[in-house]
Each structure stands twice: as C-alpha cells, then as structure tokens.
Symmetry: C2
Subunit: 365 residues, 2 copies
C-alpha cells in the first residue's frame, strides 16, 4: 500500500510502498478515505517533533483521519464493511490509572503513544488496523466534515475543561445563571472554528479574533454561526473594554496568551490549546497586574491537550446538531482537498486563512 | 470605645475614641478579644490599599477577628452571651447571584464591601455589631488559635479550589488514586502554615518552602505536622527534580509564581493566593516552555481570594481535628500577642519569620 512516511527528527516526507498491516484477531481493518493536516504534521515534517515506533526509523504520518471498515478479525463483531469510522489518536501507557480507565488524554506517566505523532504509525496510508475500542462510528450524513472529528474532539475537551473550571463555583441555589456566558475564541483555524461552533451550540455569545478581515472562509462561517468576528492584527485592544467568562486560545502565540489573560472577566477561565514553541526566547511580561487580577478575581488558566473517546462521541453529537441548525454549513469547513500525491505542496507550507486542508487517500468514496 | 482607624489612601493609623455602634434589631453585639495582622493591614496602613465606608474619610482597620457575644437584638435568638465568635469579612453587593446565594467570595460585580478593608468598618475596636448570618460560632477549646480562623478560611477555599481542579479528571472507574497526592506550599506565613496543616489532614505528602532555615517557629511547627521543610532562599532548584500535584502559592512573589509553574507534575494544579504588586515592572519570562508544558500536561493555574462562610465552618472542623491529632500544636500558631496600644510597633513593619502577630483588644478573656 502507499504510505506517507517521515523520519523524525530529520525534516522529511516520502510517499512509499509498504506492506498492508496484518489484521489481528481482535482488530478491524479500515480503508483510509482522507486525512487532515494540522500544525503538528507541519512540525513533524520540519523535524521539530514526532517519534517513530520503537525499533524503527520511519513513522507513517497522519492523525486526523476518516475511513471505512473493510473487514473484522474473527473475535470482533458489529462492524459492518463500509461503516464510516474515525480512529482516536492516543494509546494507553498500560500503566497509569488514567490510561487504564480510558482517559489516556490525562496519562500521568507520559509514556503514551500517539498514532501518526509519537511512537506509533499514523493514518496517511491506504489502510490501517485497529482495536474497536479506538474506533468511533460516524453517521453517513457527517461524511463531508467527519475528517475533522479529531480536531473537534480536542475542541470538545477544551470546552469541557473550561466549563468545569467555570462551574467550580456552582450551584448558586435559587440563583441560576440568567445571562449567556461570554466566550472569546482566539484563532480561527480548525480548533478555533470548531470551538466557536460548540460554544454557539452551548448558548454562549461568541467573539472570535484572528489577524484577518471578515472575507476569509473562516470569517464567513463565523457569520453564519452568529459569531462576532474581530480582526485583532493590531492587538487585542480592538476588543475595547469587553471581558469574557471563557476564552479558548487556539494559536500557540506566547505573547497573546498574556494579553488574553487580561481580557478575562471576574471568575473567568482561559483554556490554552495552542502549543507554543518551547525554545522561544524570554519575553517581558507585566506579570504583577495579571497575577494580582487572577487572585483577586478568582480566575483560572487551564491547559488542555488531546481527547479521549468520549470527546469524539461528543463531537459526533454536536456535528449532528450543527447539521440541523445550520444546513449547508459543515460542508464548508474543509477549505481544500488535495490528492495524497500532492503532499509536498500541502505539507510544505502553512497556509494562513485556511481552516482545514485535507489529503485525499482514496477518492472512490 | 477605642478604635484603630486609618485614612486610606493616606498612610496612617490612629487609636481614637469613637461611639460604640448602635445595635440593630436583627444584629448581635460582639466584644472584640483580638485581631490578627496580615499583609493587607500593612498595605492599608502604608496607604497602598483600602477604602473608607461611603461618605466617610476613616476606616476602622482589622479583618482577622475573634470576639465574644455581648447581647442580641430583639429579633435574634440562639446567641448566648459569652459565646466565642468569628465574623466573616466580605459583604454582599446585593446584586449578583453569587452574593445573593452566600458566595460573595465570587462576587461578579466587584461592588462587594469588606470589613476592615474595603468600604466597611473593621474589627480593631472594642465592639462591633453584625447580622448572625455573618457570625461563626467557635468552640471554646479553639480559643488559642481562633483568631486565625479568617486566614484559615482563605487556605480552606484555596485548597478546595485546587482539589476541584485536580478532580476535574475524576473519577477513573475502578482505578482510584492509590498514591498520596504531592503538595508543595510556597511561603510559611499564616496562609502557608495553615494550608500545610489542611493538606496534611487531607493525606497529602507536603513540602513547604520559604527563605529561612528550619529554626524559625514555622519550621518547628512544620516538623510536628510531618511536613518536609526546604530553604529555597537560593531558588527552587533546591527541590531538585521533585514535581507536585498541587502547589499552593502564598507569597505574592511574581517571579516565584513562574518558577512554581515549572514544578508542576503532569495534570498538576497551581493555586495562587498571594497578592502581587500590580505596579511591579515587567519581568522576562521564558513563557514558551512553561505554556507548552501547561498544554501538553493538562496543567492549571487557579487564583483564589477571600472565603465565604462555608470555609470558616470547614476551618472550625479542621482546627478541631488538628487539636486531636497534634496536641499542643495549635497553641503555637500565634507568634506574638501585643496589646492594641502597641499598634505602631506591630503595624509599623513586616516581620519576616513570624507566622501571625495579634493585637489584643480585650485581655480579660
């Protein structure tokens, strides 16, 4: 089968022929339809991140995936050939209690693996095999957007984490919330757009900032969802005196994180999902006022990474609800689909203003 | 009656005669025994903080308090003369749902008042009157330490906030926690010592850092409670590779906050209780690595301020349990008691190494 391989930490990407994986008795074989490309893929191709499986020098790239069931091993039942499926990314360390209870997104040994990223083959290949516990069935009507279920799961977890932090002071007996919560989403790539969608479904008022005017694909989708779009290319002062109960950061821009902290309302929560460069030089931070405000206003900052199966399932539910609420919208979430053969162009540069670029592995269905 | 007044924002402190407050029909009159002195009191005396009641230029100082019931208004029952009581500090804004549901520590208008601090008379006077809903009855056996119930309530809330952030990933069905959680307490003033006490009662292993050797009063108390003490005067590198699930910061030192962030374990939570100087100059922060770690390891930072009545009640329970567990220990928490007349000396400088200095208003009982 064809497979897109990389050799971390060497900058690399090659389309090669490799044997199809052997199907284990308890596994399902999946034909890959398409894979999304995200910043982590770019980082790996550039040699900044990623790790091949133990004992190997090469890694099959790709973690955002969509496929159809081909066949099941003899001890697996219930997976009909042709069923649309998305596989989760992180795999258990087999040691800590989080991994053993299905929450490997909170793995506390750090010895997890991640398909297509860290120590385990990914999905940019014609086929993969996987145990059913890591496969999420997707309804056929979600076909156009289902390749974005993995980033959707990351957004779902981030928002649950933020809501938990907001809800730590609930309930207020006899005095429920009456005003909608005010959310700010920083960044309008895939995570930012998907977070905006989820927050709108949850009844938040939502403002989204990026460094573009409203004419981008993202700007147009935000408008349909009733999200206020603000071009913050000149800084967050464009938001004036607005303050927010929940801020979802999806850029990884270090200085912006501190600006966002200053935009929190009393009791507000900032959720960080963007992954900053660890080697960035120190920056000057007026930390006294920010930290003082965090204490005096009971504010919180929460980092959130990855997502376990339950968040993929939440993503299926929310995509389904969004299909009903905004007909025709989700079909526009994928900015561009290109055949796998054009991987050099798609992986070779980071495209500002795109929501999601997708490599099509099998265009037949 | 004698009262210690200040004139914020003018640096000031005067012991004066003022009329005793008038008892309302729904109020209790309390004779003040003693008041603790904390950093906020120093800030107010130095003119950096505090606000007199509306329409007045003077504020009676003091928020850490202990007294005995003198008499009750005609519509109050159940408060026997002589009963030991501690009054809470913050008063409702009468508008937001948090204040209206007894959680004014989460007031979301910011228009709360605080006795002895912000817009409402404090307790450094011979008497005060208060509605019973703001009074917490204290068992007689807690007399020696009860003046520290207010800082205890602040530590109780901070730890609940930290535990809530830790517990956001619970439960792990079938896989309960088996190892004790590892806590680090930064600072061994009143909040740090009280937080250490609470964490030991909750079964955490506890390390406490300050800038002193173990010979201070704090160092000796920590030893009795089974807390490891580390002198971090030369920096947190004294902790080596140790990492912590919960860190309680109780210093307000800005650069230290970032050092502590780097000491969090995977899924760890840093609770900030110290109040930094808002006008401190910017400092260089190697934020890329810290923020990246927050995301990749699901870490959280939570600011916590003040405490509602429920945390004063938790403090009474924990002090009572600590009396049983460490006989003779709590009697040593107050470093020094001085008569109110010596306020100039006590309020005039911040004493490093002391846990709690107390001004005695009425030494008769």
């Amino acid at each position: 089968m064809r497979a897109l391989i990389v050799h971390p930490p060497t900058p690399s990407a090659h389309l090669v022929e490799r044997p199809a994986p052997v199907l284990g008795s308890g596994e399902v074989r999946v034909r890959v339809l398409e894979c999304g490309v995200c910043g982590t893929d770019h980082d790996i191709v550039e040699g900044q991140y990623g790790k091949p499986p133990e004992g190997s020098a090469e890694l099959i790239l790709g973690h955002e995936n969509l496929g159809r069931v081909m066949e099941s091993g003899p001890s697996v039942s219930g997976w009909a050939p042709g069923q649309l499926v998305v596989a989760t990314v992180r795999r258990s360390c087999n040691a800590c209690r989080f991994c053993r209870s299905g929450q490997s997104d909170f793995c506390e040994t750090g010895r997890y693996t991640e398909r297509g990223i860290f120590g385990r083959s990914g999905y940019m290949a014609e086929q993969y095999v996987e145990a059913p516990e890591y496969l999420v069935a997707v309804p056929e009507e979600l076909r156009p957007v289902a390749v974005m279920l993995e980033p959707m799961s990351v957004a779902e977890k981030a928002i649950v984490e933020g809501q938990r932090a907001l809800d730590r002071k609930e309930p207020t007996p006899g005095y429920p919330r009456t005003e909608p919560l005010r959310a700010l989403v920083a960044g309008t790539g895939a995570i930012g757009i998907l977070a905006s969608l989820i927050l709108r479904l949850r009844g938040y008022t939502v403002t989204a900032i990026d460094r573009h005017d409203a004419s981008t694909p993202a700007g147009q989708l935000l408008q349909v969802m009733g999200v206020r779009h603000v071009n913050a290319a000149a800084g967050t002062s464009a938001l004036g005196s607005d303050r927010f109960d929940l801020i979802v950061e999806a850029t990884g821009a270090i200085a912006l994180d501190f600006d966002l902290l200053g935009l929190l309302a009393i009791n507000g929560v900032l959720v960080l999902t963007g992954i900053p460069n660890a080697r960035a030089p120190p920056i000057p931070v007026a930390a006294g006022a920010l930290l003082r405000q965090m204490v005096l206003a009971n504010q919180a900052v929460v980092g959130s990474v990855n997502a376990n199966r339950s968040y993929f399932e939440a993503g299926v539910r929310d995509f389904t609800e969004a299909y009903r609420r905004w007909p025709g919208l989700l079909e526009r979430f994928v900015t561009r689909r290109r055949p796998l053969e054009e991987f050099v162009e798609v992986l070779g540069h980071r495209e500002g203003g795109a929501i999601k670029n997708v490599l099509v592995v099998d265009a037949s269905a």
